[in-house]
């Protein structure tokens, strides 16, 4: 009998068997292998308890009261629409997450929510309760970067994935980034790099600007990024920076300083109701239109609340504006579905909420498991996926979505085609060239387990 053993005592038959096994394994869907891999892992966070039933829970801690209430409610509506679309396998959801059928990995997705009032403590307490009582497998919502940063820390500690809602601070995926946190929307650095060249092109070099800055991480990082760009690239000078606490109602003392500053531009970084009030009051003081208003980080509903008279000609950077439906078919589907359900056209907070959920559904379906490290590693593959504004991807080093930034300009009241037609899209800038190097803001993601 012929001996087919090799020198190490392994038969050819064994070799073939092993080879076939490896080849078969490679041919299996990624999900199958991940699932099999995850099944052997020790419990982590709310896994596997949170996904053992027929439904899985996610939670959103959004401000429904306080200065960011209007924006928080809009953000929540986008998330709720996304969850509805995930559960029914809506064609728009399938366009972004092709493997979605109904639910996520066949399980119904439920969205729980709580009012954070844009306060980190309130948000973290609510999320902690959702983790312990409802075993949520996903957390989201912010509308304040102070909340996003606090939620990042909670996510990393509890090992439950967190998708930032509206969050403009560089810190969210910068020095305060975490392995368990991801962000879809644009932020201070990309806003500055996008709007800066537009301002320089429109208004030239060596101009004087007054800044209005809310006193927390979002305000400080956005102001710094915009000022750095304008001063380093075009010699603009910050003549005053009026820092005010979140929730300020009367801006008269700040505006008095600005009126006496000799500035030609008012760069208003305030957000939510603070932006509405500071802009309205700047107009009352005659600062507008004497100075040119710039909104580097656009605020949902600002034009509606302040009025097109004040906002006409104002440049802003944003994540999304509904007239992008003319360019992107998926945007059209989203705007139509949102308007049908909520009776108004979505602002960018709703878009961010919707797309973030769609991307998460895509990642989970690709991973084939709810096991958090496997889902995170799918984000970190950096693969190209769809959004409402074309293809995007997540940067593995800091979990920041590489996505376009939209430059808009306020329309004259006479040019508005309907009562929500406030902005004209001026430019759509690809995201990658606007971003800083992944380690420039000190991001260290931390551990998977």
């Amino acid at each position: 009998m012929h001996d087919s053993s090799d020198s190490k005592g392994q038969s050819r038959r064994d070799f073939l068997r092993t080879g076939l096994g490896v080849a078969g394994g490679l041919a299996l869907p990624v999900g199958f292998t991940s699932q099999a891999f995850a099944a052997n892992e020790p419990p982590i966070g709310t896994w596997p308890a949170g996904s053992s039933g027929s439904a899985v829970n996610a939670c959103a801690c959004v401000p429904l009261t306080g200065s960011y209430a209007a924006q928080g409610a809009d953000e929540l509506k986008g998330m709720q629409l996304a969850v509805e679309h995930i559960n029914e396998g809506h064609p728009l959801m399938k366009a972004i997450s092709p493997k979605t059928t109904k639910g996520v990995l066949g399980k119904e997705l439920k969205l729980l929510f709580a009012d954070s009032a844009a306060k980190p403590n309130d948000a973290v307490q609510a999320a902690q309760r959702f983790i312990s009582e409802n075993k949520v497998i996903l957390m989201t919502g912010s509308t304040s970067s102070a909340v996003a940063v606090a939620m990042n820390k909670l996510a990393q500690r509890e090992k439950v994935l967190y998708m930032a809602g509206i969050s403009g601070s560089n810190d969210t995926t910068g020095k305060d980034c975490v392995r368990y946190g991801v962000r879809q929307n644009f932020y201070g650095q990309t806003a500055a790099a996008a709007i800066g060249p537009v301002l320089v092109k429109q208004f030239g070099k060596n101009r004087k600007a007054a800044f209005m800055t809310p006193d927390y991480t979002y305000g400080h990082t956005v102001t710094k990024s915009v000022n750095d760009y304008l001063s380093q690239n075009a010699g603009w000078q910050m003549v005053t920076n009026q820092v005010s606490p979140l929730g300020t109602q009367d801006f008269s003392q700040y505006l008095t300083n600005i009126a006496n500053s000799g500035a030609e531009f008012l760069i208003n970084v305030n957000w939510g109701r603070d932006a509405v009030l500071s802009t309205q009051q700047a107009h009352q003081f005659g600062i507008l239109p004497k100075m040119t208003l710039v909104i580097p980080y656009q605020i949902p509903f600002l034009s509606q609340e302040v009025g097109a008279d004040i906002m006409q000609g104002v440049y802003a950077a944003t994540d999304f504006w509904w007239t992008l439906e003319d360019k992107y078919p998926l945007s059209k589907q989203f705007v139509d579905a949102f308007q049908k359900k909520y009776n108004y056209r979505p602002e960018w907070g709703a878009e961010n909420g919707y797309v973030s959920f769609a991307h998460w559904a895509h990642m989970v379906e690709e991973a084939g498991t709810f096991y958090p490290p496997a889902v995170i590693k799918t984000y970190e593959k950096g693969e190209t996926l769809q959004s409402l504004v074309g293809p995007v991807s997540y940067r593995p080093q800091d979990h920041q979505c590489i996505r376009p930034v939209i430059i808009v300009k306020g329309k004259k009241p006479g040019d508005m085609k309907n009562k929500e037609d406030f902005w004209e899209v001026v430019e759509i800038l690809p995201g990658a060239p606007l971003m800083q190097a992944p380690d420039a803001f000190g991001c260290k993601l931390g551990d998977y387990t």
Binding site: S244, S252, Q253, Q284
Partner: protein, 291 residues
């Protein structure tokens, strides 16, 4: 470097800001002074007055009608509240009073949010007060100038009511010794009801007068409540002249600090309150024993 023009501008702005704070605080201090009730719903009443005026303005387009509606509506709300809720708490511990008025505030805010949602509502100033006035050293919104006058008239009216009328005499006597006033055959209960109504009316009046300056939102009373408490503590809890003095001091602190470092405007306000509490616990014009 602080310029002379900016200093004068901020000094003036502090006066205007302080006048508004004084008006808002006066209602709070009247109610506490007369009834001993620390009304945590005062900020919500301020907001409610603004919204009542906004509704009236939406239907009539008249700012005067809006102001009258805002003030009268809150007077009625105050009277009804006093009869139905507050009077049951006069003899209960202060913490019960705080809880019930805090609860009322939440009810007011969420009711308004239910009907009007969170987006801001704007009431424009009357046409004669629209635009900007050149004061020589600065341009200032004409309506804010008018507010200084409106507030001065309103505070004078409240002062006359409290110090020059029979009602005011009974109120002040009731503050000192309600049992004695009762035994003289005067209906203290009814006086207290009217006082609560007047305090609420002051909040409502301030809410609608303030509406063209700061557009309306359901949560707007929260921040105002904190500031009015600071004003009342500085001026003296329960002291009407104290509310005026406290308001003006607070306005100047906020304004002048912003020249040096805008981020510290409110920090300095709270620092001033702490200083007053340490050095003069009953406030600058407060009566010892009522703090």
């Amino acid at each position: 470097m602080i310029s002379w023009a900016n200093f004068v501008s901020q000094l003036f702005n502090g006066l205007a800001l302080g006048a508004l704070l004084a008006l808002i605080s006066s209602g709070l201090t009247i109610i506490y002074g007369a009834l001993g009730v620390l009304n945590l719903a005062h900020g919500a009443m301020f907001m409610l007055g603004g919204y009542a005026g906004y509704v009236a303005y939406s239907y009539t387009g008249s700012f005067v009608v809006a102001v009258i509606t805002g003030a009268l509506f809150l007077f009625i709300v105050g009277v009804v509240l006093e009869r139905v809720v507050i009077r049951h708490f006069y003899k209960r511990p202060p913490e019960d009073q705080l809880l019930v008025t805090f609860g009322l505030a939440i009810c007011f805010v969420e009711t308004v949010r239910f009907f009007f949602e969170s987006l801001s509502k704007t009431v424009p100033p009357p046409k004669i007060f629209a635009g900007i006035t050149n004061l020589g050293f600065m341009f200032y919104p004409t309506y804010r100038l008018a507010v200084v006058g409106i507030v001065a008239v309103a505070l004078l009216a409240l002062f006359l009511m409290l110090y020059k009328t029979r009602l005011g005499l009974i109120v002040r006597a009731g503050i000192e010794d309600s049992v004695m006033v009762d035994s003289l055959g005067l209906n203290v209960d009814r006086v207290f009801m009217v006082v609560f109504g007047i305090g609420a009316m002051a909040a409502g009046f301030a809410g609608i007068v303030n509406a063209p300056v700061v557009s309306l939102a359901p949560d707007m009373g929260e921040a105002i409540l904190v500031q009015t408490f600071v004003v009342v503590v500085i001026g003296g809890v329960g002291s009407f002249p104290g509310a005026i003095l406290g308001g003006l001091i607070a306005g100047e602190i906020i304004s002048l600090t912003s020249m040096v470092n805008p981020g510290y405007s409110y920090v300095m306000l709270f620092a001033a309150m702490t200083l007053v509490l340490v050095l003069r616990p009953h406030g600058l014009l407060g009566v010892r024993g009522r703090e």
